[in-house]
Amino acid sequence: MLLDGLLTGGTYALMAAGMALILGVVKVINLSHGAFFTLGAYVAYALAGRGVGSPIAAAPLAAVIAFAFGVFLGKSFVNAVRSHPFALPVGTLAFALLFEQAAQMVWGPQPLSIEAGAPWIGPGGLVIRRWGVIAFVSSAALLGGLKWLLSSRPGLPLHLIAEDEEIAGSLGMDVEAIRYLTFGGACAMAAAAGALLSPSGAVTPTMGRAPLLLSLVVVIVAGMDSVAAIFLLSIGLGIFGNACAWLLSPQWSYVALLAAVCLLLSARPAGIVVPAGRRD
């Protein structure tokens, strides 16, 4: 159970890192992040129905699709209404609901599942889900790649925009383009996480809500600077969520996450590192 939480949490970290990226560079709270997670899972399901039963194959496809949607959303909506504090949360939530309902119309509201393959038997009779391990390893690899990217030269514009967008603009960077590309990339990360995690649970239209909240909690607590902190915290929350689900009932882990969001927000009203006050 603990191991399962660890594996799941590792994949959630991929999504949370995307959330942090959006919050840092685009400086918005993206409530549609969960929808991209769901999108990834449905892409994996659709592929599994066509005989490609591997989330590893589904993840890149889901990422490309989500990147396209994300760039569209980032370019034509988020960038356009960034200065309206009302439009952003409500609009991104609208997009999430739009996607949830569309998924419900296409695939139906019932939970779907993907054949996960036989589990591996580890040392000491430990049963490990095969795809859990694969998902964990690939997410860890992707996160490592992200960390490398951020610390290398191509990642510099992202840091600079997060720091001060005016200076970035005056240095000749196309701030708008970098913003929507980042948005798309982060959405792709969420979709990849969704595809990788799809065999571990039921695929439903609203499955993205819990990971969305988890990413929010992670971003609020861990901040946006350290990929490693996000990774560790996601694992912690994955284990915590699994413990809740196992000790009480599955929906309690969702409620616990919601309660965590409430508590965190009321405990640290200004604690989230959004430089929103700078934007006038």
Binding site: V28, I29, L31, S76, F77, A80, V81, H84, P85, F86, A87, L88, P89, V90, G91, L93, A94, F95, L97, L98, Q101, A102, Q104, M105, P109, R209, L213, L216, S249, Q251, Y254, V255, L258, A259, V261, C262, L265, S266, P269, I272, A276
Partner: protein, 356 residues
């Protein structure tokens, strides 16, 4: 409302420096015409289905206006406004059926409960701003929704399991309300509630709330206890939402988990965004037009939510001030008016405006 309007801090008289409170009857001509049309509508012997659509529409419109008290007038964007609505609905159902209270008493208790719930949400969210209020209220609403979905927490007489997806029935003193009486009762409720909310939003308290929404820091610097006023706005808006919820449950006869759903909160925000935030009447008109339009074609629920989301996205993208607000700005710009005259209040009665 009274005691908060008379808070001690400001040295400037609140009433003195501001223009006299506008009469809610300003620009009432077209409004009266609209109400007249709605009063006449049942006499054209329409389908019972359409009467039902309109009845629900009236209650939703009151709900949308109550969202506007919180999200528009006081500027605290709530995405959990279904919580007081559903709390009142559940309270009504439980009190009449389980505790056997008489209906009027149960309704009064439900409205009070909704106000208390609102005051609680307001107290928690008062220190927050902007998207974080949205986040917090969303989380609170979802917790309530999960609690309502997940538990068959009461079992009624006769061994039925209540709660969960099936909801809880209300014990109504009447058998089958005729669609006409429901229609007129809901319409009367909508008129009364909107009038009350309009009065509230244009009173001294409403003015202070708008000031807080405009710039919390300025308001605080001039001595307004913003936390208290935000709490008050939440309590007032939630009381009206609770009244709408009680009305809804009387009409439908059953409190279900959908009364607490995120989709419902989101609908209210959509109506307000389309109709123009902070105008109270705008959301009412938008709610009526959109609801009748989408429900009248008897679309499946998921298609309806999808259309609402689409409408909202288009509105936010192209009319950030709401369809009505943008139209009004445009009209006043075309008319060559400068800002000296207060914005016209009469543009919002075009029925076609809410269409995506």
């Amino acid at each position: 409302m009274r005691n908060a309007a008379s808070f001690r801090a400001p040295k400037v008289s609140l009433r003195g420096g501001t223009p006299p409170a506008r009469s809610p009857w300003r620009g009432g001509g077209s409004l009266a015409a609209g109400i007249g049309l709605l009063l006449l509508f049942p006499l054209s012997s329409p389908d019972a289905f359409f009467l039902d659509v309109f009845t629900t529409g009236f209650l939703l419109a009151a709900f949308a206006a109550s969202w506007d008290v919180v999200g528009g007038v006081s500027g605290q964007i709530t995405l959990g406004h279904a919580l007081p609505f559903g709390a009142a609905a559940y309270a009504c159902a439980l009190l009449t059926t389980l505790a056997g209270w008489p209906l009027p008493l149960a309704v009064a208790a439900a409205v009070l409960l909704a106000a208390a719930v609102g005051a609680g949400i307001g107290a928690i969210s008062a220190p927050l701003d902007g998207p974080f209020v949205a986040l917090l209220t969303l989380a609170l609403g979802e917790i309530a929704h999960e609690a309502a979905v997940g538990h068959t927490f009461f079992s009624g007489p006769g061994g039925y399991a209540w709660g969960g997806e099936g909801g809880i029935p209300v014990a109504l003193p009447w058998r089958d309300a005729s669609p006409f009486s429901s229609y007129y009762a809901a319409l009367a409720f909508l008129c009364l509630a909107s009038f009350g909310m309009l009065r509230f939003s244009r009173s001294g308290t409403g003015l202070i709330l708008r000031a807080v929404a405009g710039s919390p820091i300025t308001a605080q610097a001039s001595g307004v206890p913003i936390a208290r006023f935000r709490r008050l706005a939440f309590a007032a808006g939630s009381a009206f939402a609770g009244a709408a919820g009680a009305g809804f449950v009387l009409h439908v006869g059953r409190a279900t988990a959908t009364d607490l759903s995120l989709e419902l909160s989101f609908q209210a925000a959509t109506f307000a965004a389309v109709g123009g935030r902070g105008t109270i009447v705008g959301p009412v008109v938008a709610a009526l037009v959109l609801h009748v339009l989408f429900q009248g074609f008897s679309l499946p629920p998921s298609a309806r939510v999808l259309l609402y989301a689409l409408t909202l996205l288009v509105t936010l993208r192209f009319f950030p001030g709401g369809v009505v607000g943008t139209a009004r700005d445009l009209a006043s710009r075309l008319g060559g008016k400068d800002g000296a005259r207060p914005p016209r209040r009469r543009v919002r009665d075009k029925p076609g405006e809410g269409t995506p």
